[in-house]
């Protein structure tokens, strides 16, 4: 079987493993577009380390960086998270329908089995 390439979803998950990166995303989720210097303020790490995290998030397609003069603005990108949510929603529909049919058939079988069983005196 052909081994599938690292999917975008895998990259998303890999980027989200790190707590600092999750905190950065949470901040962006709350405040919209934020400059890099503003973004690094609450963290006890140096700017280059923050830049490194932003690189990972950028490669995963989770953020966009826009440079205006000397200021770099960071914002969220919806795509990869949407892919994850799309997977969940699609499979929810897919399995809900199947479980509905499974339940209907099991219930019909139960009725059949009960009809074939001798009446239980103890009930």
């Amino acid at each position: 079987m052909v081994k599938s390439p690292v999917s975008d979803l895998d990259r998303t998950f890999a980027a989200l493993v790190d707590p600092t990166r999750r905190a950065i995303l949470a901040r962006l989720e709350q405040d919209g577009t934020v400059s890099v210097s503003e973004l690094s303020r609450p963290f006890a790490i140096k700017l280059p380390a923050v830049m490194k995290h932003l690189d990972v998030l950028g490669e995963a397609g989770l953020i966009t960086r826009t440079k205006t003069g000397r200021t770099v603005a960071v914002g969220l990108t919806a795509g990869p998270m949407e892919e994850a949510m799309h997977w969940l929603r699609r499979y929810e529909r897919f399995w809900s329908a199947r479980l509905h049919r499974l339940a209907a058939h099991a219930e019909a079988m139960e009725t059949k089995v009960r009809a074939a069983e001798p009446p239980r005196e103890d009930l």
Binding site: A26, Q30, E82, M85, E92, H100, A106
Partner: protein, 151 residues
């Protein structure tokens, strides 16, 4: 958020539900997503045994999924790997995910808990262990509007 969990109450005893889940005769009744026929259902119900199900949908397309049984505890628990081997979602062809089914007896029959985990990579497993709470939950709401019943 890498997994989907569904819970259903079924008015049938666990042993009946378990057999409908795992026998070719049972699978014929529920595996297809619409009223199209299940063309083939093979199950080798033991740990390490495999299953293969092929069905045709009403639009004429044929699909096949298969996997291996990882845990088989009749009538309470079933764990299996799962993948599309033909048709289905091209983007996911060959990718393996995991399905866990627990059957708890209740007064009216069975409570079925179904979990589909998309755990095909170390990265997603790791992030699972980190816990997908707080920040990521907020992100989900932000991006999805309605988050569904994601676990």
């Amino acid at each position: 958020m890498t997994s989907l969990t569904l819970v259903r109450r079924i008015a049938a005893r666990p042993s009946i539900v378990f057999d409908v889940l795992t026998t070719p005769d049972g699978i014929r009744y529920w595996w297809g997503p619409d009223d199209g026929p299940v063309l083939l259902a093979e199950t080798d119900l033991r740990v390490g045994g495999s299953f293969r199900v092929r069905f045709r949908m009403l639009d004429g397309t044929e699909h096949e999924s298969s996997g291996e049984y990882i845990e088989v505890v009749r009538p309470t628990r079933l764990v299996m790997s799962w993948r599309w081997t033909n048709g289905g979602d091209a983007a996911e062809a060959g990718e393996e995910s995991r399905i866990e089914i627990d059957l708890h007896p209740i007064a009216t029959g069975t409570e079925l808990t179904f979990t589909h985990d998309r755990l095909q990579t170390t990265a997603s497993r790791d992030s699972h262990e980190w816990g997908w709470n707080g920040a990521v939950d907020k992100l989900e709401r932000h991006f999805s509007g309605e988050a569904g019943r994601a676990a």
